[in-house]
Symmetry: C2
Subunit: 363 residues, 2 copies
């Protein structure tokens, strides 16, 4: 079976009459190096300018609003803002505005709303309410003509091109990079650590065969636990979401510390664990959790540096020398591929998850 | 089997020589009406005084820090603060301080740390760092002599008495009530809506037989999805945590809106769903999600008002006439009982989750 698929993914059909399952998702995953390049070449200057205008307003604190995959991108931005910017930041509970009519005082507050489509009515309503409440509003979307972009004072276009697959992939990494450049811009930095990402992303995505091999162990998995800490935690959440919406395997993400506060009981020698181990302080903080998991005989697959993979049951080694704060843009790639490959191996179509629509209208 | 267990839970052994499985958890669940009464009678005045002193300092925004069960109590407080107080609020990502050494400017910020034991070193370290960064610090714990209480400027004792069971139950509802009274105190209210809770909690806990019946359907469940919106969402998260750490069933919590953004694909007619349906605006906002779940043939068990239970596959009807903002203190009770009963039905001991017992090494 594997001989009929190319080792690196592409969006073109393999020549048969019916479209290959997962064609859209594979094509959009493969676009990611080009999208990242486009953001750096064509988007970065505008993002820096937007950041400078917002920095001049000196926001005291930041709120992030998003849903689904974009919420995981927002969580990444939360880590950046807390660590590199030193500003207090929260993720909003949108229903407090849209269902309960909360009217917080948002003077001095920067509200960032992240959405691929920019079309979800609840995001538009909560952003409009935030602006009326005195917030500086910024929309980060893949559609500059969207209602969300219109109601926001500022807008950043993530330049990912139309996304047709239901599982979001290229817009996630595009949102991460745009948010990274924006937060760097707020503190007057040009975000040079991102420069190697397009090339490295291409190298990671070219290793689809390795991931296909890794996917075999989850062919009959009934559950998955995915854990990380620090900058890797948004990756764990996004990997879990991607696996759930394509493979339907219940994949539960935990920060390493929270895993030790109870849910470790779920893990035994037939419960697979995937750990995203950042090469830095997040990874160091995760070590005691990895030791406990190994002690329980867990099947532990690691996405991280080679030495971490070598100490696990299996894994995918990431490129060395990448700054920890931009590593999430690479870390998610093998896990997107994994969601794709496990779905194909189970005879399902990643492009047609049951029950999903591309623009979800939540109110 | 069920004939040998009392219909209402108590902490005493049924007379046999060996301790009954789950004796500690059952006993502590049964204490909850008395704990809630104690907080109202002996704790409320002090909580109001603490709130008045903090309100006089006029915090502009609030950060909440916690782990595990206490993190779900913190999430409840986040809804209260956004909706009833109109202040921006965030849940901190603790590793930003403890692993990455972030030094945010927390002037005008109220930092609330919630912890049963008050002893976790990372919570103590992050609270100390917050105080040094200019925050008003408040610890909410079950131990006034704890290191966390000591490093915080203010402290609220949740008065739950020693908690010995590994799955936290009485300290969760105690934290909810203490946080409710505190947030009410911040806006000069006495929180009278909480007055009926001890009696109603007793009535709910006396209906253990109903929950035992409900537990039968999960005897062989491989997964669970738990959903809610608004004030009910912390309940969904805490129920999932309780079920995972006792039964080991992967139980994934989703806000209703997030469920529609992807993970709905996991739900089919063999994937059970538990919905916590608040009697108010959160419940109204959840209706489209319930309709979609019914449309997909999901096995839908509802914890909510009788008419919501009647429209579902099965459920547990909550008392009527309770204010939506205090309802979470009752909603969690049947779900604590459910975690207990499913665990017993599976032949496991809720008092001895396996991660914390001696591990047999398999090779």
């Amino acid at each position: 079976m594997s001989a009929t698929r190319p080792s690196s993914l592409s969006g073109t059909s393999a020549g048969s009459a019916a479209p290959r399952p997962g064609r859209l998702m594979a094509g959009e995953m493969a676009e990611q190096p080009a999208v990242l390049r486009r953001i750096l070449d064509e988007g970065a200057a505008g993002i820096r300018e937007t950041a400078a205008r917002i920095a001049a307003r000196n926001p005291r604190f930041v709120l992030l609003t998003a849903r689904g995959t974009s919420d995981n991108a927002a969580l990444y931005a939360k880590y950046l803002i807390e660590i590199t910017l030193g500003k207090p930041v929260g993720l909003t509970s949108m229903s407090t505005t849209t269902a309960y009519g909360a009217k917080p005082d948002l003077t001095d507050c920067l509200v960032i709303t992240v959405s691929q489509s920019g079309g979800s009515p609840d995001l538009v309503a909560s952003t409009r309410a935030a602006r009326e409440a005195g917030a500086i509003t910024l929309a980060v979307t893949n559609n500059p003509g969207s209602p969300l972009a219109e109601v926001s004072e500022f807008h950043i276009d993530v330049l990912a091109g139309p996304e047709k697959a239901l599982p979001a992939t290229k817009t996630y990494t595009a949102e991460l990079l745009a948010l990274y450049l924006f937060v760097e811009g707020l503190r007057g930095s040009d975000g040079a650590a991102a420069e190697p990402l397009p090339e490295l992303a291409g190298e990671v995505l070219a290793r689809g065969v390795e991931v296909r091999h890794l996917a075999e162990r989850y062919r009959f998995a009934q559950r998955l636990v995915i854990t990380s800490r620090g900058y890797g935690y948004p990756t764990a959440r996004e990997a879990a979401l991607k696996l759930m919406e394509t493979t339907y395997i219940p994949a539960t993400p935990f920060s390493g510390a929270d895993l030790l506060h109870g849910p470790l009981a779920m893990v035994d020698n037939v419960s697979p664990v995937i750990a995203v181990v950042p090469a830095g302080r997040g990874g160091a903080a995760l070590q005691p959790v990895l030791d406990r998991l190994r002690g329980r005989g867990a099947d532990l697959v690691v996405v991280g540096q080679q030495e971490q993979v070598d100490a696990a049951s299996a894994g995918f080694a990431l490129p060395t020398g990448v700054a920890e704060e931009v590593a999430p843009i690479l870390e998610i790639l093998p896990l997107q591929l994994l969601a794709y490959e496990v779905t194909i191996a189970r005879g399902q179509d990643p492009d047609s998850p049951r029950a999903l629509a591309k623009v979800t209208e939540t109110h």
